[in-house]
Symmetry: C2
Subunit: 139 residues, 2 copies
DNA sequence: GCTTACGATATGCGTATGCCTACTATTGAT
DNA sequence: ATCAATAGTAGGCATACGCATATCGTAAGC
C-alpha cells in the first residue's frame, strides 16, 4: 500500500509554478505569450491543422485562441491560409521565422530548467524525463 | 547534452490539469474548495501559524485567503484563536473534524491518482514518487 | 434548392487571480 | 507619550479563464 505522501498535485503544482516563472522572462524577451509559444510548439511538431483541432490539442478555448493566432500571424510566426478544398478552414502552418523563434525559446527555456533538473542525481534525472515523456506521449 | 524533448512545463502542465480534474469531484463531495483543502493540508502538517505565514506557505495571496478561512471556520474545520501574547495575531489550528475531512479527502484523491500512477512500471512509480517528494521537500 | 452541420470569429458572463491600497487594532521602540 | 511597523481585514482594478451564445460563410446530404 501507499506510503504516507502528499497528493501528486500538491507536489507538482509548485514545481510547475517555478518552471513557469523561469519561462516567463524568456518568453517576454522573444515577445511571445505562453499561449503563443504553445501554438508554435504544436505547429512545429505537427505541421497543418484546423484551428479547432489546434485549440483542442493545446487545451485552449476555441474562441479564445484567435487573438493569439492574430498576434502570431502579425509577427510573421505562423500563416493562416484558406484551405482550397474547404474554404471554411484556415490551414495553419509555422513559418521559418516562427520555427527559429520556437527553437530559440525552447533552447533558452531548457537552459533555465537546468536549475531544477540539476538537483537530481543523473540516474534520477534520466528516469524522471523518461517518465514525463511517457505521460506526455500518452495523452 | 540533452536529447530533444518537450519543455518540462509542457509535459507537466497537462498532467497537473488531469490530476486537478480528478480532485475536483472529491473536493466537491466534501464541500471543500481547492484553497480550503490546501489550508487544511498545511495546518495538519504544521499545527499553528499566523495567517500571513500560512498564505505564503501555500502560495496564496494574504488578502484573498480570508474568505477561505472564514468558510473553513464556519464549517468547523479550523479554529482562529487570538494569540494571548500578541492580540493582533490569530493562531490557526485544524480541528479534529478538519483533520478527519482532510484525511478522508486525501485518501480519496490518492485513490483517484491511481489512474495515473497505475500506468507506470512499479520501479518507475517508486522513483517518480521519490523524486517528487524530493522536489516538494526542497521548497 | 433547402436544410442541416461545421469552421472561424466575436462577444458577454461569471468567476478567479495577482497586485495594490487603505483601514483598524495592536505592538514595540524611542 | 508618540510614532513607526505589523496582522488581519476589506475593497478596487486589470487581467485571464472557461463556458455559452450568436453570426457569417461554406459544405454536404437530401
Amino acid at each position: 500500500m501507499a506510503t504516507e505522501r502528499p497528493d501528486l498535485a500538491a507536489m507538482l503544482y509548485p514545481l510547475v509554478r517555478e518552471l513557469i516563472a523561469l519561462e516567463l522572462p524568456v518568453l517576454a524577451a522573444h515577445d511571445v505569450s505562453m499561449w503563443g509559444y504553445s501554438v508554435l510548439t504544436a505547429l512545429d511538431d505537427t505541421p497543418v491543422r484546423t484551428q479547432a483541432a489546434l485549440a483542442e490539442a493545446i487545451g485552449a478555448d476555441k474562441s479564445r485562441i484567435i487573438g493569439t493566432l492574430d498576434e502570431l500571424q502579425k509577427a510573421g510566426l505562423i500563416e493562416r491560409t484558406p484551405d482550397p478544398a474547404d474554404r471554411r478552414v484556415r490551414l495553419l502552418s509555422i513559418t521559418p521565422l516562427g520555427r527559429r523563434v520556437r527553437r530559440a525559446v525552447r533552447k533558452e527555456i531548457q537552459a533555465q530548467e537546468e536549475q531544477v533538473l540539476a538537483t537530481l542525481a543523473p540516474a534520477d534525472r534520466k528516469t524522471f524525463l523518461r517518465i514525463l515523456q511517457q505521460f506526455h506521449a500518452s495523452r
